[in-house]
């Protein structure tokens, strides 16, 4: 079976003799259609073939969309197996189309449970109250188990001779790793990402930051704080980026609730700094530091982990030139922040040394287009290159 990404070998589910080839080798057929019949050598396959004929006639001539189809139950007594290639079942309902009971929605909101991480047990996979309560219980158990896990790692020797280690080992997914594993394909697969990168001259911002940090009794400002502040301002000016795809509408937010990705030992967590648009640089600095600390200590309330309208992922501390991030649905965009690097720059005065930062915006194409993302980045660039704007 050929997909966008790979050729997959399919093995027949049943045993028997290949009695009829309906689609010859090398030809194309939509996923889910009958390509041949495997049966007992003397079995009557007339009915199966007749059904196949009518089904084929019903198929549109053009490439039919790949619809996963369950093989129909075979009539009792018959061993004939239809070879139907079944497309891999998708990644489940997209986050925008969660089926949730009103009560479950309220309980989740009050307890701060992210419904996208909850498995529904109601009719048609609908999330009901019981599911939210069970997710809450499971969350509590995960938090309790974490310290023991960390302690175990602490006593593990740093360097072990390779011979003492098995060739490979399977490490059980931590709850956070499992959550990331479940959530990210729901973003990367259904959300059509595109990326816009821009280089920002950070010389003046760097100077401003040093000046601010020299002030006594004032909170220390990080580059990330400058970026959060710049994003908050830019998001309000370009609400099209501060938006979420909702199936039949695009929901545009007029508040900048910014998720700030924090790396943990075993994963990643994105606490949300709310109402950034109305916060000063100092407030942002203090609050985001406190959020990150509590995130690392796993002391965040669940409410602080949901409701972002936009996210920032910063790998600057790892000397990363630039990278692109996966959007955290239902948000419409995420900003990937690289390191502020000292690079040779050409100016009117000749060759010099400057501080440069690469920002890459990942955008949901269902929400916005390239130009919109570029304008937002332009605004960010202007704010950071004329950093006094961040103070007013």
């Amino acid at each position: 079976m050929e997909t966008d990404k790979a050729d997959i070998e399919m093995e027949a589910f049943g045993a028997g003799v290949l009695r009829k080839i309906l689609i010859p080798a090398g030809e194309r057929a939509p996923v889910g259609s009958l390509i041949g019949v495997i049966a007992e050598p003397d079995e009557d396959i007339g009915a199966v073939l007749a059904a196949a004929g009518s089904a084929a006639a019903a198929l549109p001539r053009s490439e039919a969309p790949a619809v996963p189809r369950r093989p129909e139950p075979v009539a009792p007594g018959a061993v004939a197996t239809r070879i139907a290639v079944v497309a891999p079942v998708g990644t489940g309902p997209s986050p925008e189309r969660l089926r949730v009971s009103p009560l479950a929605r309220k309980v989740a909101a009050q307890a701060g449970v992210d419904l996208r991480l909850v498995e529904g047990s109601g009719p048609g996979g609908r999330i009901v109250r019981r599911d939210v309560e069970e997710a809450l219980k499971a969350g509590g158990a995960a938090a309790a188990a974490a310290p023991a896990d960390a302690a175990l790692r602490a006593v593990r020797p740093m360097a072990v001779p390779a011979a003492a280690l098995p060739e490979s080992e399977d490490i059980a997914l931590t709850p956070i790793r499992a959550a990331i594993a479940k959530l990210m394909p729901r973003s990367k697969a259904p959300v059509p990402h595109f990326y816009v990168t821009s280089e920002v001259a950070m010389d003046r911002a760097w100077e401003l930051r040093q000046e601010l940090n020299a002030l006594e009794g004032r909170p220390k400002i990080s580059v990330n704080d400058l970026i959060v502040r710049a994003c908050a301002i830019a998001l309000l000016r370009h609400p099209g980026v501060n938006a979420s795809f909702q199936g039949d509408v695009v929901r545009v937010y007029h508040r900048a609730h910014i998720g700030i990705a924090v790396a943990l030992e075993d994963g990643l967590i994105t606490p949300v700094l709310r109402d950034c648009e109305s916060k000063s640089l100092a407030q942002i600095a203090v609050e985001s530091k406190e959020l990150a600390e509590r995130a690392r200590a796993r002391k965040l309330k669940a409410t602080e982990l949901s409701g972002a309208t936009f996210s920032i992922s910063n790998l600057g501390m790892f000397d990363v030139a630039e990278f692109s991030a996966i959007i955290n649905p239902p948000e419409g965009a995420i900003l990937a922040v690289g390191s502020v690097r000292r690079v040779p720059v050409v100016s009117d005065q000749g060759l010099g040394v400057g501080r440069r930062l690469n920002l890459t915006l990942s955008c949901d194409h269902r929400v916005m287009d390239g130009a919109m993302g570029a304008r937002f980045l332009q605004e960010l660039k202007r704010l950071l290159e004329e950093p006094l704007r961040l103070l007013i």
Binding site: S101, P102, L103, A104, K106, V107, Q110, P123, V128, R129
Partner: protein, 460 residues
């Protein structure tokens, strides 16, 4: 005679058994049913349906009594109790025929006679013309229940009758003592009182309709008392003595004389005579023990309805029948939601409830909010001249979850289903409020009570 083979044999064709049989047939299984009475069980023949016919008669009689309120002058009328019973029998016959028709339509074979199980997959049917043997891959037991009495008091269906006698008896007594003020006792009190019988209603628990919300019980007691029904609650019956002239009931330090006593203290599961003990079927407190998929402790043997435990309600039996049938057909149905079974009493005023009473919700430790709306403030109820009663909603304060709903008044038993659907869908107060209710309807009282729970009633 050789045994006949089926996929499923259903013993008992009440609202549990016949529904299970039809569902099995829909799912492509061959089905045999066994019944020693008419199809339809107690519900169709001797319970729910004929009593509803009698209650309709009672309602019409009461409307004739109230004719002047509507400006209608009657020069006397006569309500014939025997005719009411005869009509209720015709109604029951018609419904039983309906079940027979559904069996034919679904190609379900009916074996008249008493069923018993020599093994878990064999049903022996002792009928009028001999014994037949059925072999089935799965057996569903749905034998129901029968009226029970108090210790030392025999139901003779002459002077001390059960509901079975009451639905057959064409002669209304001059006076009647009803022991037990649950749904059955209250409904017969209504029927007999409407036909001019002097009714005394006795209840051992502190209030009538003791499982309903306290406000509902209080309202019911007040209305019945106003209608001339004598109510004694919190009284234990010490003795019932039958004599030539009638019956004497000793209860709560009083001696009461009446023509008849109606025993309405509850029902007992029919688990005897089926051979369950020999099969090792677990029985607990008189009911067959079942799993959430209605299977007994013996594999392939299912039990549903009254015999499988409370609540002893036809609609609960039907729901269990569907679960059993779908399980047998290899599906994995969700279990019956016993917390969401509506309970209905069809007296005047009608009573219906679902979920928790206010007291139960409070004792559950939840912070609750309660909304009430009286039918006196409902335009439709006033137009109907049926302003008795109210709608009461008990909800969780934090989430608006509908914990319980209690309705007493006109068409309460129909109105309750808005809450039933709401609870199934996990709707909260807000979803009910956002639903536009047609005007003028009794259902507006549901909306208003729900608004009331948030302090937002418009018409109060």
């Amino acid at each position: 005679m050789a045994s006949q083979k089926f996929d499923v044999a259903v013993v008992g064709t009440g609202p549990g058994g016949y529904v299970a049989a039809i569902r099995c047939a829909q799912l492509g299984l061959s089905v045999a049913t066994v019944e020693d009475d008419r199809p339809g069980g107690v519900c169709l023949n001797w319970g729910c349906i004929p009593t509803k016919a009698l209650l309709r008669n009672a309602e019409i009689v009461s409307l004739f009594h109230r004719a002047s309120e509507f400006g209608i002058t009657l020069s006397g009328f006569r309500a014939d109790y025997a005719a009411a019973i005869q009509r209720s029998r015709r109604v029951a016959d018609r419904m039983a025929k309906g079940v027979e028709f559904l069996f034919r339509k679904n190609k379900i074979t009916l074996f008249p006679g008493r069923g018993s199980l020599p093994s878990a997959s064999v049903v022996e049917v002792a009928g009028a013309t001999g014994t037949q043997t059925l072999e089935a891959k799965a057996v569903i037991l749905a034998t129901g229940s029968e009226p029970r009495s108090l210790p030392g008091i025999a139901i003779d269906e002459q002077r001390v009758i059960s509901s079975n006698g009451a639905v057959r008896n064409e002669r209304a007594p001059a006076s009647l003592v009803i022991i037990g003020a649950g749904a059955v006792g209250v409904e017969f009190a209504d029927v007999y009182a409407s036909y001019g019988v002097q009714v005394t209603l006795l209840e051992a628990l502190p209030r009538v309709l003791p499982v309903e919300d306290e406000e509902v019980s209080a309202h019911m007691a007040k209305t019945f008392t106003r209608r001339g029904i004598t109510i004694r609650t919190g009284v234990m019956v010490r003795a019932v003595t039958v004599s030539q002239s009638g019956v004497t009931v000793e209860a709560g330090g009083e001696r009461m004389q009446a023509d008849l006593v109606l025993m309405a203290v509850g029902r007992a599961a029919k688990v005897e005579g089926l051979g369950l003990e020999a099969l090792g079927v677990a029985v607990q407190r008189g009911f067959v023990k079942v799993s959430p998929s209605m299977e007994t402790s013996v594999k392939g043997l299912y039990a549903i309805g009254d015999m499988a435990g409370p609540p002893l309600l036809a609609h609960k039996a039907s729901a269990e029948g569907i679960v059993a049938a779908e399980t047998i057909a290899g599906q994995r149905p969700g279990p019956v939601d016993y917390g969401n079974v509506p309970s209905c009493t069809y007296a005047r005023p009608q009573v219906a409830s679902i979920g928790m009473t206010e007291a139960a919700a409070k004792s559950n430790g939840r912070e609750i909010t309660v909304g009430r709306f009286p039918f006196t403030a409902s335009g439709k109820a006033v137009a109907l001249e049926e302003t008795e009663g109210f709608v009461k909603v008990v909800a969780d304060k934090a989430t608006g979850e509908i914990l319980g709903a209690h309705i007493v008044g006109p068409e309460a038993t129909e109105l309750i289903h808005e809450f039933a659907v709401g609870r199934t869908l996990e709707a909260t107060l807000e979803e009910i409020i956002h639903t536009i209710h047609a005007h003028p309807t009794l259902s507006e009282a549901v909306l208003e009570a729900t608004l009331g729970a948030l302090g937002r009633s418009i018409h109060l």
